[in-house]
C-alpha cells in the first residue's frame, strides 16, 4: 500500500550554540540553574536595554556554514519576529529572515542499501531562544523561567529532500555528529540543546505537486523523530484514502500516546510581521574573517571516515562507526597507533568489547573506564600471543572492573599462554593416559572425539595453552 505514496520531509533543526554567554546579553547559558537566575535586564526585555551581538555565536555559525560547503553571507540581517507569549520577554524574537548568515549547503547521508544521498540545506540562521513556560509546577498558574531566553540557536533548515523517517533520522544524526565535531553544540537532546521540527507531507507516487504539509514541533530524540514521522505519514495517507484532506497545521508529538495532535491550524497562525531589527546593524563578515574561521575547522566526519578506510584498511561501515564522534575516533586512533600492524584488531575491540561495556554502563567514550593506552596494552598481548583472544575477554572484564592494566592482571591470575611444546606435550600425554577408552575409540575411527581431547587439554591448562599448538600436537600424538 505504501508504495502508492511518496513521503516528502524537510527538517528544521535547532542547535543550541555552545557559547558561554547568551547571544545578545552577558548572562550565562549553563543548563539547569534555578529559574530566572541567568537572566539579566536584556533577557528580561527591560525598558531601554539594547541587544549586543555575541561574536562567538557568529563564529560558530560561520564554522557550520563552511563545514557544509555553504555560502557564508558577507552581509546578513537580524530581523524581529513579532508575537506575544509570556516566555518571550520583548514580544519579539530576534532572528534572521530574508538574509541569513548561511545559505545553500548540503550534507550526504548513507542509506540502508549503502547508496549515498545528498540532502540540501536551504539555510542556517542565528536566533535567540525563548524562555520556558512552566505549566505543571504551579496550580492554576503558569510560571515563567527566562534562563533559556536569549540562548543562541542555529536553525538549520533542510530542503524537502528526505523521503522517509529513516532518511530523516540519518540526516539528523549526520547534523548531530557534525555540530559536535565542530564543537559548536553539545548535542544534548535531553536538555533540548539539539531538537527539530519536521515538515511532513505525502503525495501519490509520481505526482509533481507537493501535498499539504503538517509541521511536527519540538522533537528531541532520534526515536521520537522516527516514530512521529511514521505516525504522521500513516495518518495523512489514511486521511486522504478515506476521502479527507490534510490541512496545513502545526502538530505536537505525544510520546506516551505515540501520536501527533493538532496544535494550531494555518488560520490560527501568527502573522509574525518580520522586519529588520533597528537595534542591530547588519552583520558584515569580511573574507579574511571567514578564512580565519576556516583555518580552525577540524577534520570533518566524512573526511575522517575516508581516511580511516584508506589508512587502516577498514570497511566503510567500520570507518563510519568509528568516526561517529571525534572522541571515539581519537580513541581508536590511539589504540591503533599503540598496536602497530593491527588496525583491524583495534577496530574489532573498540566496536566490540569496549562498545558493549560502555553501553552496559551507559557511558560515553569520554567517560570510559579504560583509556586507549590500557586497551592497547591488552591488544598487544593478543598480538604477541601472550594470551588468546578468549582469555583476553576475561582480562578485559577484569580491567574494566578494576581499572588495572592488562599485564598486571595476566601476571596475577597466571593467564599467560602456554607455548612451550614440551609442556603441552606432557599435558597431552597425561590426558591420553587418563582416558584410555576414548583414546581407543578415537583410534578406531571416532574422529569426533578430537574435540573432547582438545577440551580436556584446555581444561587441564585452565585455557592457557596455545590453541593452535594444542591442535597440532594432539593430531600428532593421537595418531601416533
Amino acid at each position: 500500500m505504501e508504495s502508492a505514496w511518496e513521503t516528502v520531509i524537510g527538517l528544521e533543526i535547532h542547535a543550541q550554540l555552545a557559547t558561554k554567554s547568551k547571544i545578545f546579553s552577558g548572562s550565562a547559558t549553563a543548563y539547569g540553574a534555578p529559574p530566572n537566575t541567568q537572566a539579566d535586564l536584556v533577557d528580561l526585555g527591560y525598558p531601554g536595554v539594547l541587544p549586543v551581538l555575541n561574536g562567538a555565536a557568529v563564529g560558530m555559525a560561520v564554522k557550520f556554514g563552511l563545514a557544509i560547503g555553504a555560502e557564508v553571507a558577507a552581509h546578513s540581517v537580524f530581523a524581529r519576529k513579532n508575537y506575544f507569549y509570556p516566555d518571550l520577554p520583548k514580544g519579539y524574537q530576534i532572528s534572521q529572515y530574508e538574509l541569513p548568515i548561511v545559505a545553500r549547503g548540503a550534507l550526504t547521508i548513507v542509506l540502508d542499501d549503502g547508496t549515498r544521498k545528498r540532502i540540501g540545506i536551504t539555510r542556517a540562521h542565528l536566533e535567540e531562544d525563548a524562555g520556558k513556560s512552566l505549566h505543571e509546577e504551579l496550580a492554576r498558574l503558569t510560571g515563567i523561567d527566562l534562563n533559556r531566553a536569549g540562548t543562541p540557536l542555529l536553525e538549520i533548515v533542510s530542503e524537502p529532500d528526505l523521503r522517509s523517517a529513516k532518511e530523516a533520522v540519518a540526516y539528523m544524526k549526520k547534523v548531530h555528529t557534525l555540530v559536535r565535531y565542530l564543537e559548536i553544540c553539545d548535542g544534548n537532546m535531553q536538555e533540548g540543546s539539539f531538537r527539530c521540527d519536521a515538515n511532513v507531507s505525502v503525495r501519490r507516487s509520481g505526482a509533481e505537486k507537493l501535498g499539504t504539509r503538517a509541521e511536527i514541533k519540538n522533537l528531541n530524540s532520534f526515536r521520537f523523530v522516527e516514530k512521529a514521522i511514521n505516525y504522521e505519514i500513516a495518518r495523512q495517507i489514511e486521511l486522504i484514502e478515506s476521502g479527507g484532506k490534510v490541512i496545513q497545521e502545526t502538530r505536537l508529538y505525544d510520546p506516551d500516546a505515540g501520536e501527533t495532535r493538532s496544535m494550531r491550524t494555518k488560520e490560527e497562525a501568527n502573522d509574525y510581521r518580520y522586519f529588520p531589527d533597528p537595534d542591530l546593524l547588519p552583520l558584515a563578515l569580511g573574507s579574511s574573517t571567514i578564512e580565519d574561521v576556516r583555518r580552525t575547522l577540524p577534520e570533518l566526519p566524512d573526511e575522517k571516515a575516508a581516511r580511516f578506510s584508506r589508512q587502516y584498511g577498514l570497511s566503510e561501515y567500520d570507518a563510519g562507526v568509528l568516526t561517529a564522534s571525534r572522541e571515539l575516533a581519537a580513541y581508536y586512533e590511539e589504540v591503533a597507533r599503540e598496536v602497530p600492524g593491527e588496525p583491524k584488531l583495534a577496530a574489532n575491540w573498540v566496536m566490540g568489547e569496549l562498545a558493549a561495556a560502555l553501553n552496559r554502563d551507559g557511558l560515553e567514550i569520554e567517560a570510559s573506564r579504560l583509556g586507549a593506552a590500557q586497551l592497547a596494552g591488552l591488544l598487544k598481548r593478543i598480538a604477541d600471543t601472550t594470551i588468546s583472544g578468549k582469555i583476553a575477554k576475561e582480562v578485559f572484564e577484569a580491567m574494566w572492573t578494576s581499572g588495572r592494566d592488562a599485564d598486571a592482571i595476566i601476571e596475577e591470575k597466571g593467564l599467560k599462554q602456554i607455548t612451550d611444546s614440551s609442556a603441552i606435550e606432557r599435558v597431552i600425554e597425561e590426558v591420553m593416559a587418563k582416558n584410555p577408552g576414548q583414546l581407543a575409540d578415537y583410534r578406531s575411527g571416532k574422529d569426533k572425539l578430537f574435540g573432547f581431547f582438545v577440551g580436556q587439554v584446555m581444561k587441564a591448562t585452565q585455557g592457557k595453552a596455545n590453541p593452535a599448538q594444542v591442535n597440532e600436537l594432539l593430531k600428532r600424538k593421537l595418531s601416533a
Partner: protein, 486 residues
C-alpha cells in the same frame, strides 16, 4: 544677577569661583520648580533629596579641587531616560510606578561629570506627540503663555529650561521632539547625528530614529553638555565609534564664508508669515557675519511626514510589545486568562495616541502590506537621505524654520492627528537621514518665540554649534525669559 537667569556656562564660572555653592544653586532652582509646578506641570518627579545630596558631593569635589566643568550644575532628565532608583514613567500609565534598576548611559555619564539631577521632565507618552498633551501626567504648559502648548515630545524639558527651572534638560528627538519644543519655548536644542549619543537606557519609541540630545539656553551650554553625553557605547550597537570633538573649544571660529543653504521647500505655503519673516531676519544676520546664502532644494522632502508615519509606528509597534503586564509596569486587575491580561493591560495602560501608532505600525508590517508601506517608506527614506547628501555637496549648513507656526493652544490640534503630525514637517527629514540638527531662538511672532533650524551633514555638530554660537553672540533672543519667570 540672580542665579536662575544665568546660562550654564556662567553658573559653572560662578561655582568655580566659589561665588555660590552647588547646594545653594540646587536649593534656589528646587524652590522655583516647586512654585512653577502648578502652572507648568513641567516635571513628573522632583528629586529634591537626591539633588541636595549630589550637590553636597559636588561642593566637596569643588573644594577638593577635583571639579570638572559640569560639577554641581543642575539638570533635569526627560522621563524617558532610565534612572536607577528613581521612577521612569515615559509619560505613561504603563510605567507609572516603574523604577529602573539601572542608569541610562547618558544619565551615568552626566552623573559621573558631577551634574545634579533635580527631577524628571514631563513628556508626551512614550515620546509620541508634538504638544505634550498625550502625557498620562497631564499636559505641560508653555511658560510664555499657559494657554498654549510647549511642543513635544520633550515639552517638559523645554518648558523647564525656558522658565529657568534648570539650566539644562536632556531630551530625545525622533521626529523633532527636541527642536520643535525648543522653538515653541524659545530655547536652544540640539539633536546630534544618529549614533552620536548612546540610546542605552533611553526607552525606545522608534529605534532607527530616536536620538538623545540636550536643551539649554545657549549653544555654548549645549556644546559643553553634549561633549559629555556623546560617545561610543559598547551597549548600543548603533552608537558610532568615533572620537568626540571638544565642541566648546571649537566655538568662536569665524563663520565668514560659511555656505548656508536656504531650504526652498521650507519657505513655501504653510509657514506662518511672521515666523517666516523672523527666520529670514536671522539669515540676514548670518549674512552680516560673512556667511553666504544659497537656495537649495530637497525634492523628496514632502514625503518625509508620510514616510515617517510608517517607519516610526512600525518600530514602535514592536518596541512597545514588551509592555504586557508580565514582568514590570502596569498590569490589569484579575486577568481571566492570558488574552485578557494582554488586552486589558495594554488597553488600560496605553493612551489613545500610543494605541493609534501601535495599530498603524502593526498594520504596515502585516503580511500583504509590508512591501506597500514599510518597504516603500524605507525607499523614501533613502531618497531623502540622498537629497540631503546632494545639498551638502553645495552648502555647509541648511537653515530654515523649525516649525510652521509658533506655539498653539491646548486642544487646538488634538481632534485631528494629521494636523498635529504636520507640525513636524520641517524637523522629520533630519531624523530620517540621521543628520544633526538644532533649533535656536531667532525672535518673536507676536509675543511668542520663533525657532531657527540648522541642519548639518553627519557628525557636523561642531559646525552647527559654532554657527549658532556666532549668531547668539550677536543677538539676545536666547536670553529672553518668559514674563513671570525672569
Amino acid at each position: 544677577m540672580e542665579l536662575h537667569t544665568r546660562t550654564l556656562t556662567e553658573l559653572a564660572r560662578g561655582l568655580a569661583a566659589r561665588e555660590f555653592s552647588a547646594v545653594e544653586l540646587a536649593r534656589a532652582l528646587l524652590e522655583r520648580i516647586e512654585r512653577a509646578q502648578r502652572p507648568l506641570n513641567a516635571l513628573i518627579s522632583v528629586t529634591a533629596d537626591g539633588a541636595l545630596a549630589q550637590a553636597a558631593a559636588a561642593d566637596r569635589e569643588i573644594a577638593a579641587g577635583h571639579a570638572g566643568p559640569l560639577t554641581g550644575i543642575p539638570l533635569v532628565h526627560k522621563d524617558i531616560f532610565c534612572t536607577e532608583g528613581v521612577r521612569t514613567t515615559c509619560g505613561s500609565r504603563m510605567l507609572e510606578n516603574f523604577i529602573a534598576p539601572y542608569d541610562a548611559t547618558v544619565v551615568a555619564k552626566l552623573k559621573r561629570a558631577g551634574m545634579v539631577m533635580l527631577g524628571k521632565a514631563n513628556m508626551d507618552e512614550f515620546a509620541m506627540g508634538s504638544s505634550n498633551e498625550t502625557s498620562f501626567f497631564g499636559p505641560v504648559r508653555n511658560p510664555w503663555n499657559t494657554r498654549l502648548v510647549p511642543g513635544g515630545s520633550s515639552g517638559g524639558s523645554a518648558a523647564a529650561v525656558a522658565a529657568r527651572l534648570t539650566p539644562a534638560a536632556t531630551a530625545t528627538d525622533t521626529g523633532g521632539s527636541i527642536r520643535q519644543p525648543a522653538a515653541l519655548c524659545g530655547v536652544t536644542g540640539i539633536k546630534p547625528t544618529y549614533g552620536r549619543v548612546s540610546r542605552y537606557g533611553m526607552i525606545a519609541f522608534a529605534s532607527s530614529l530616536d536620538q538623545g540630545g540636550i536643551l539649554t539656553t545657549s549653544a555654548e551650554d549645549a556644546a559643553l553638555v553634549l561633549g559629555t553625553m556623546a560617545g561610543f557605547d559598547p551597549r548600543d550597537s548603533t552608537s558610532v565609534e568615533r572620537p568626540v570633538p571638544d565642541y566648546r573649544a571649537e566655538l568662536g571660529a569665524s563663520i565668514a564664508g560659511l555656505r548656508i543653504g536656504l531650504l526652498k521647500e521650507f519657505f513655501e505655503e504653510g509657514l506662518e508669515p511672521e515666523s517666516g519673516q523672523r527666520v529670514r531676519d536671522a539669515l540676514t544676520a548670518f549674512e552680516r557675519l560673512g556667511a553666504k546664502l544659497k537656495e537649495v532644494s530637497l525634492p523628496s522632502i514632502a514625503l518625509s511626514v508620510p514616510a515617517y508615519y510608517v517607519v516610526a509606528p512600525a518600530e514602535c509597534s514592536s518596541n512597545l510589545a514588551r509592555y504586557d503586564g508580565v514582568r514590570f509596569g502596569y498590569r490589569c486587575q484579575d486577568p481571566r486568562d492570558l488574552a485578557d491580561l494582554y488586552r486589558r493591560t495594554r488597553g488600560e495602560g496605553f493612551g489613545a495616541e500610543v494605541k493609534r501608532r501601535i495599530m498603524t505600525g502593526t498594520y504596515v508590517l502585516s503580511a500583504g502590506y509590508y512591501d506597500a508601506y514599510y518597504l516603500k517608506a524605507q525607499k523614501v527614506r533613502q531618497l531623502i537621505a540622498s537629497d540631503f547628501e546632494r545639498a551638502f555637496g553645495e552648502v555647509d549648513v541648511i537653515m530654515g524654520p523649525t516649525t510652521p507656526t509658533p506655539a498653539f493652544e491646548l486642544g487646538a490640534k488634538t481632534a485631528d492627528p494629521i494636523t498635529m503630525y504636520l507640525n513636524d514637517i520641517y524637523t522629520i527629514g533630519a531624523n530620517l537621514a540621521g543628520l544633526p540638527a538644532m533649533s535656536i531662538p531667532c525672535g518673536f511672532a507676536g509675543e511668542l518665540p520663533v525657532g531657527l533650524q540648522l541642519i548639518g551633514p553627519h557628525f557636523a555638530e561642531a559646525r552647527l554649534l559654532n554657527a549658532a554660537h556666532a549668531y547668539q553672540r550677536e543677538t539676545d533672543w536666547h536670553r529672553r525669559i518668559p514674563p513671570g519667570y525672569a
